[in-house]
Symmetry: C2
Subunit: 204 residues, 2 copies
Amino acid sequence: MKILVIGSTGTIGRAVVNELNDRHELILAGNKSGDITVDMNDIQSIIKMYKNCHPLDAVIVTAGAIHFAPLTAMTSELYQIGLNSKLLGQVNIVLQGLKYLNEGGSFTLTSGSANRDPYKQGSSPAMVNGAIDGFVRGAAIELPKCLRINAVSPSILTESMKDFADYFRGFKPVPAEEVAIAYSKSVEGAQTGQIYSVGELFLK
Amino acid sequence: MKILVIGSTGTIGRAVVNELNDRHELILAGNKSGDITVDMNDIQSIIKMYKNCHPLDAVIVTAGAIHFAPLTAMTSELYQIGLNSKLLGQVNIVLQGLKYLNEGGSFTLTSGSANRDPYKQGSSPAMVNGAIDGFVRGAAIELPKCLRINAVSPSILTESMKDFADYFRGFKPVPAEEVAIAYSKSVEGAQTGQIYSVGELFLK
């Protein structure tokens, strides 16, 4: 398959590339580096990216910023950071990508466990990840051309514990290598509208 | 209890007022009518509302607009309608209300079932309701003063079927009167961080 990976230089992105590289043709995109650069909040930039690499069999997004702060320090504007970047950035990739994917192709977005398993200073990720999961379930039933869409929703990464362990006591960190398997399931499997929770210790 | 009900003229809002009116002192707020008018996207308007009616024991929000359209007709801008109104409008009511609620008081927001049980033209409600549910779970663990927060997440209302039945074939509509019971559970109970799903026929 020909697979576009947006956010290929992040911790998850690199693991996804390692997981899929031997079996597929990967095109790496990033906001600053990669085979192609793209601004996920600029529709023209997204269209240009797709025109340079279509037709595609799959698009994976592991990019998007979000603001972490105590609830009492949050504002509408600070919530907008994550809504614009991690949520609408990924949504833009889907909406603009509809015509550039082959029949039966797939989108795999990245959310996170905060909306099911919240942690301190995480009200924005809880909001944004919930929105991504909802969008994936809502969009899955309306996609044209037998296109599929899933989200990978990882818990805290092993690689992130050195910086964020104090916010994730009692969480069992999951290595990015293991999270990457869920992207393979989404791209190389046939499911749609699924949220792949990876690394959550206490499932409800 | 002294309870502020924002959106008291809608189908759910009226049922909530009927449910709680005999037992509590209600203050009704709306964007155009009510005891107090408020614009949920204007922080100064929200502060003015709270200053005119605090201290409060509970705040209920049953207001917020959202855009319904096929996925292929959606854009970032159309998703922003629901994110700004139904999501951030309710979030603003919570953030600004923290200091005007009595110890142990509660916020009860309104989401909807689309993020668990999607329907055609519902990718925006699926996104926004998922975001509200996530925010409620994330915020619940960080609220000061033993404040509580829950969301009521109704399926399609019996009262809405005359206009929207074609989008909700196979759904069992729920009367607003029954949905209102969930608001009572949130306000008069002691739970927090809960999403009260009402009327969903096929629970996962």
